[in-house]
Amino acid sequence: MSATAADDQLTIFERSRAGRRAFVAPASDVPERPLDELLPARLRRAAPARLPEVSEPEIVRHYNRLSRRNFDLDTGFYPLGSCTMKHNPRLHERVAALDGNARLHPLQDPRRAQGALELMWRLQEALGEIAGLPHVSLQPSAGSHGELAGVLLTRAYHEDRGERRTKVLAPDTAHGTNPATVTMGGYEVVHVGTDADGNVDLEDLRAKATEDVACLMLTNPSTLGLFERGIQQIAEIVHGVGATLYYDGANLNAIMGICRPGDMGFDIVHFNLHKTFAQPHGGGGPGAGPVAVADHIEPFLPRPQVVRREGAPDDTIGTGSDGRLGHFDLDYDRPRSIGRLRGFQGNYGVFVRAYAYIRSLGAAGLRDVSETAVLNANYLLARLRAIGVAERLPVAYDRVCMHEFVLSGAPMKRDLEIRTLDLAKRLLDHGVHPPTVYFPLVVDEALMIEPTETETRETLDRFADTIAEILREAAQDPEIARTAPHTTPVRRLDEAGAARHPVIRQAL
């Protein structure tokens, strides 16, 4: 290991030297009060906190170095299926950084935060229009959180009618969060099968849709990247037994402005603002998973709701930006609500960026987003076929795809003796983030590719050529892929070892 490489591995604590300092605060020029007056000794540390003692350039270099070890959308192509890793327009960062947005305190009185509340209210209206369902809560702060809201809303709806239902249906291709949410919501998961075309198996659904089913959780397009052709029949079957139909919004990027979940018969929809509406994500947040619901679910939405009231209280500005008299408020008077889902009102910065995205594109622009996302996916699929990759990586269901598609690496594993995981790891050496692998589970050695609308044709071509190159290389020497990656800061991780013998405590 070179000196630089060894230095790269040091933690900020290992860089610490006693007495070293970065910024030193100047001497106080105001009268000081004794510490005991401010905080009793029993509440104070006996010894100073063991913080790293490092010079300012060392701090800057350390974190700059760490940031460069990351792979992100600003570094390269990131076709992570079902995650919609699209470009985040820089305009949104400017808007989110405006003082009125960035410096607003979450405890600000609503009368003094009219602009922020109006933005949230308008975002609710816009999301409701996109979903085709009029009532929106912005509180859920992740896709899975939106799902939990959906299941709790379903439970509240049934219990309000005096019904006790015990099961929730989900396709066998569902995102793993669906069954997890169902279990967390106190229901039993029942899986519905997939037919030969990759759609929900309607016969299986009919057999399993019984009077004790509370809900069907579905995403359309499905996780196979295919439009559910039977969505109307699905809605009829589910509503026929009095259950709710829930839309997992992970794949909304395929249909915006073209069709609406509400019109398909969905009762509850969650959005992933961090996916579809272009937020920086992939590092664990912050996200936003608002829900939109139909009239019969509205009474149960989380509390408080952002509302517009007619007339102006004495000390507010009095009109919204459209000149209409009124003001914005937080409505706590919701007796049948499922209650609060989080502190404060949600990740406000995410709302600002999503609202900027929707307003800067407009209705026609949002439709263009989805059409281009679908076109890019179909182009890439056709390109992979044209250059002969499909022999080793055939598409799992041979149909026109939506915004993403799923390949099977089974022939590649059989003929070249490399697995989908090896291909994914080798892509890292080519500066590409690997697609989603081994999901959905119904596809053997699955590789799930979502290029998004923000990539150029040249990037898509280069990606296709890279896959072809890796297959050619594996035909010569499969060991290169099996031991990849070779150029990243950390090499092949021992995933099984990490799961079998997890080290969950790191001594500092």
């Binding site: 003796e417 995981l421 081994y438 589970l441 053997d444 995933e495 099984a496 799961a499 079998r500």
Partner: protein, 132 residues
């Protein structure tokens, strides 16, 4: 990748499970998953041991195995009651990958209907079902 193998002395369930019945003690069977199953799962990281006395129903899941890829149901090849569990898998679940027919056995079951074995496949038929 280790070579695939399907011993002749086992009975196979089409969902990739095996049962071993000792002719000297035909009322009991040992269960495990096949080479094909462990290869498809990838590296196993956890085996959820069923409690002694658990009822196993043929064709139904009786426990779960977690690999780096997914959590998967394990299907009972025959019906009966669990009389022994491979406790060593708690510390070394990798035995399911490394030795699926030996150290990687899962449970021992007292069979409730020994005639069920008639519906299981022999090694040749199971191999044929894999298309290899």
């Amino acid at each position: 990748m280790e070579q695939a193998g399907y011993p002749d002395d086992l009975l196979y369930h089409p969902d990739h499970d095996w049962a071993r019945i000792d002719p000297a003690n035909p009322d009991e069977a040992t269960f495990g998953i096949t080479w094909y199953a462990q290869d498809a799962l990838g590296e196993v990281v956890f085996f959820d041991p069923p409690k002694l006395g658990t009822r196993v129903t043929k064709d139904e899941p009786y426990t779960e195995i977690e690999s780096v890829k997914a959590v998967s149901d394990v299907i009972g090849p025959l019906s009966g009651e669990v009389v022994a569990v491979n406790d060593a898998l708690a510390d070394s679940p990798e035995a399911i990958n490394e030795d699926p027919y030996g150290a990687g056995w899962l449970v021992r079951v007292r069979l409730s209907d020994p005639s069920e074995r008639e519906s299981l496949l022999d090694a040749a038929a199971y191999r044929a079902s894999l298309g290899s």
